[in-house]
């Protein structure tokens, strides 16, 4: 059992009176860092809970798994806080080995009911599942050169081979680094950890947008049949703020689309159209879109 978890169990065992145990639980819950709305996704939701519970997991720079959680029920939030405090910052293999039996030691009867409403067990399971997933993805990421939070990758340099890893600035959060590739698509991502030394630069031509960037482009292409389209990943400009850390880096985009579909539509309607097409992305970590939506005549005429 991770040391922090052991501490928590001891604390609860030392509190005899049930009401005081609940108070302790609520205290934990109150101090739990709230989860941002963008992370309250279906993927992060704990199944089988009468209340709503979300759990988010990501790897930190030491490849330990960090958890965040939230719930609309304060008792469940307390339980979630227990788990977050007890398991966060530990290596993956330690997390997945934790047995739910420790719950008995807490002396909190409500965490033990075997009904499907046993959020505690399901929470723990989801946390372990996510930790495992992260570990697997991290391994895959190192092997195939895909982007991964915290990992350095040095594949995928297209025509801009002058950009080697060595040349990238280190520990910078707001530097702009733009590379223009041949066909006018700008795709660069600079993601740096605050205070950390890892850096990841992926310069690419049109085939090299990250997975989200590509999806955005493809969706807009298929739905709007644009005359011209530019999708620019500007997540690096926002690297270091809370919304970005932990996601796979693709959180902020500039989108410029020239399409007949915008004809007759006001600016607001055009933006709504684009937002509508990218709903899925917006619900799964895409933080912000900056949209320029023009019709062919507007572009030609001006």
């Amino acid at each position: 059992m991770p040391p922090k978890l052991q501490e928590i169990v001891k604390l609860f065992q030392s509190v005899q009176e049930p009401k005081a145990k609940y108070e302790q639980l609520l205290f934990y819950g109150k101090n739990l860092k709230p989860l941002e709305t963008q992370f309250k996704t279906k993927d992060n939701k704990v199944e089988g809970c009468v209340s709503q519970v979300w759990v988010r997991a990501y790897l930190d720079s030491d490849n330990n798994v960090v958890f965040e959680a939230d719930s609309d029920s304060v008792l469940t939030k307390g339980l979630a806080a227990l788990l977050v405090n007890g398991l966060s910052g530990r290596p993956v293999n330690e997390v997945i080995r934790v047995s739910p039996d420790f719950a008995v030691l807490l002396g909190l009867q409500q965490s033990l009911t075997p009904s499907r409403n046993n959020g505690f067990l399901n929470m723990l399971r989801l946390m372990q599942k996510k930790a495992l997933q992260l570990a697997v993805e991290a391994e895959k990421g190192e092997n195939s050169g895909l982007k991964m939070d915290g990992s350095v990758e040095n594949g995928n340099f297209g025509s801009n081979s002058d950009l080697g890893v060595e040349e990238t600035p280190v520990g910078v959060t707001n530097s702009g680094l733009k590379v223009d590739s041949r066909d006018g698509n700008v795709n660069v991502e600079l993601d740096s950890e605050v205070g950390g030394e890892r850096n990841r630069v992926q310069s690419s031509n049109s085939g090299g947008l990250g997975s989200r960037g590509t999806r955005i482009k493809e969706k807009l292409e298929s739905e709007l049949s644009p005359v011209a389209i530019e999708v620019e990943d500007i997540s690096y400009q926002h690297a270091g703020h809370a919304g970005v850390r932990g996601s796979d880096g693709e959180t902020h985009f500039n989108v410029k689309v020239v399409s007949k579909e915008f004809e007759g539509k006001s600016l607001v309607k055009r933006h709504r159209l684009v937002y509508g097409l990218l709903q899925e992305e917006l619900q799964s970590g895409l933080h912000a879109l900056s949209i320029v939506a023009k019709t062919p005549s507007e572009v030609n005429g001006s």
Binding site: Y22, D72, T76
Partner: protein
């Protein structure tokens, strides 16, 4: 007043064997739970648990009451139906998590009186045997009792013939039976099935499944501003396209009661059938299928003091006769060949396989018990208890009770679904159980569309039956106030 005191002493003497004298002189009627509802710093332990007699545990003290408490309501006094019948229910006399059990989850399932338990036990001890085909003595007796139970159900709801009662596993299965058997052979593309958004999932989902297969369309009537189903809007949904109307009699969340007689008239006017989900009405009031003139009606045994595992469908005989089988197997056939079979007449046609024989007989015993008490008497008592529960709940700060308010024209069932601002219902239910032994329910009560409409994920629900007492409500309210204070102190 002296007479009241005497009455109380009498009760005390006969029930408790001792007499309470430490009571101040203001008006009271009966022993109530410890401490006032309005004492916000009350501890969770109950005081004065000094009087015990046999297996019954009660705590005594005075409730400092406001006008909300119906002190002079004899219906809720110490000779109420609740007090009289409690001894029949052994399960109620226990402690849970260190407190007296206060069971307020009757809409989910009811408790069973000893008479029903005895009937079940007796069946298995004395004459358990398979029904309908046997020749020997035991099976003849089992068959007689099983068919007698069917007659009892028919008489209980005033069906014209016991052949109009089909035993099923529960009400859910009964609705599925109608959906598949009647629905599949009567619904065509663009035919409409009318429901309300307050229906139980079991009344919605089977029709969704059948609508998918037949191309029929489901239409839902919403609520009015009193948080009751909008009966006018419901009527407006009826048209020549309507083939069946599926509605509850009493809502398990809103506690509202639909005017079934009128709904049936309007439905029949447009040539539509009516299926009534009577799960929350049959156990609590007189239900007369002939005067309501419904086409189908379903109920579950376990909600009416009978065992789980059995329920029934009432269907008018001409309807049942025209319906194809639902489940296939033994009992429901007439002759079986390799390439085809012929089917039995209803109700057997819809009772494939060995039924829950003992349980059906148990249901019969439950009906006997309820009939001896008298459904009207039960209903009258529960109306009073319902009002008391509703008014007591309203005294809790920041609470919202769903459904219409009780009034001259509006009866509420003896249940209340509610939410307290900024406190999750699950937290309330958990704390009530863990710290006070009070059993309520938290969730969507199998009515997700309703909760979505009300704009909440879940609600807490306390539901009563005739064996609950005013003290149960008082204990609940006191515990609820304690719970609310606990969680509020953490904000």
């Amino acid at each position: 007043m002296p007479s009241t005191l005497t009455l109380f002493n009498l009760c005390c003497n006969s029930i408790m064997g001792t007499v309470v004298h430490k009571l101040p002189s203001f008006k009271f009627l009966n022993p109530t739970s410890s401490s006032s509802h309005y004492c916000s710093t009350t501890t969770t332990t109950r005081t004065s648990k000094t009087f015990r007699a046999g297996s019954r545990r009660r705590s005594f003290s005075i409730s400092a009451s406001a006008s909300a408490v119906r002190e002079d309501n004899p219906a809720l006094g110490s000779l109420s139906l609740g007090h009289i019948t409690r001894p029949d229910f052994p399960i109620l006399h226990q402690e849970v998590n260190g407190s007296r059990l206060v069971y307020l989850d009757n809409a989910a399932t009811s408790q069973k009186p000893t008479a029903v338990l005895n009937a079940l036990q007796n069946y298995y001890e004395a004459y358990n045997s398979n029904v309908h085909r046997g020749i020997h003595y035991l099976s003849a007796r089992a068959t007689d009792e099983y068919e007698l139970a069917r007659k009892k159900v028919a008489a209980f709801i005033n069906a014209s013939d016991s052949g109009e009662i089909v035993f099923t596993k529960n009400a859910t299965e009964a609705i599925n039976l109608v959906a598949y058997s009647w629905g599949m052979s009567n619904l065509k593309p663009e035919d409409e099935v009318i429901l309300t958004i307050a229906e139980h999932h079991s009344a919605i989902v089977p029709w969704q499944l059948v609508a998918q297969k037949t191309g029929a369309i489901l239409k839902f009537a919403s609520l009015n501003q009193d948080e009751a189903p909008d009966v006018d809007k419901l009527r407006q949904l009826f048209s020549r396209k309507t083939k069946i109307v599926v509605v509850h009699h009493v809502s398990n969340t809103l506690a509202s009661v639909l005017p079934i007689e009128e709904i049936v008239l309007w439905a029949h006017d447009v040539g539509a059938k009516v299926l009534v989900d009577a799960c929350q009405s049959v156990p609590h009031m007189v239900v007369n299928v002939q005067s309501l003139n419904v086409d189908f009606l379903v109920a579950s045994s376990h909600k009416m003091c009978g065992p789980t595992g059995v329920g029934f469908l009432y269907g008018k005989s001409e309807l049942l006769s025209a319906m194809p089988p639902f489940l296939g197997g033994g009992e429901m056939i007439s002759d079986v060949f390799l390439d085809h079979s012929t089917y039995a007449e209803p109700p057997s046609r819809f009772e494939a396989g060995t039924p829950a024989i003992g349980e059906a007989i148990g249901l019969g015993a439950a009906i006997d018990y309820l009939s001896r008490l008298g459904m009207q008497k039960i209903h009258d008592y529960e109306i009073e208890l319902a009002k008391y529960l509703y008014e007591s709940l309203l005294s809790v700060p920041n609470i919202h009770v769903y459904g219409p308010a009780p009034s001259e024209n509006v009866d509420r069932a003896a249940l209340c679904s509610f939410n307290v601002e900024n406190i999750h219902p699950t937290d309330i239910a958990t704390f009530l159980d863990q710290q006070h032994g009070v059993a309520i329910r938290s969730g969507h009560h199998c009515a997700q569309p309703l909760h979505r409409h009300l704009g909440v994920n879940a609600s807490a629900r306390a539901s009563l039956h005739f064996y609950n007492t005013k003290e149960d409500v008082d204990d609940f309210i006191q515990a609820l106030n304690d719970t609310v204070n606990f969680f509020n102190s953490f904000k």
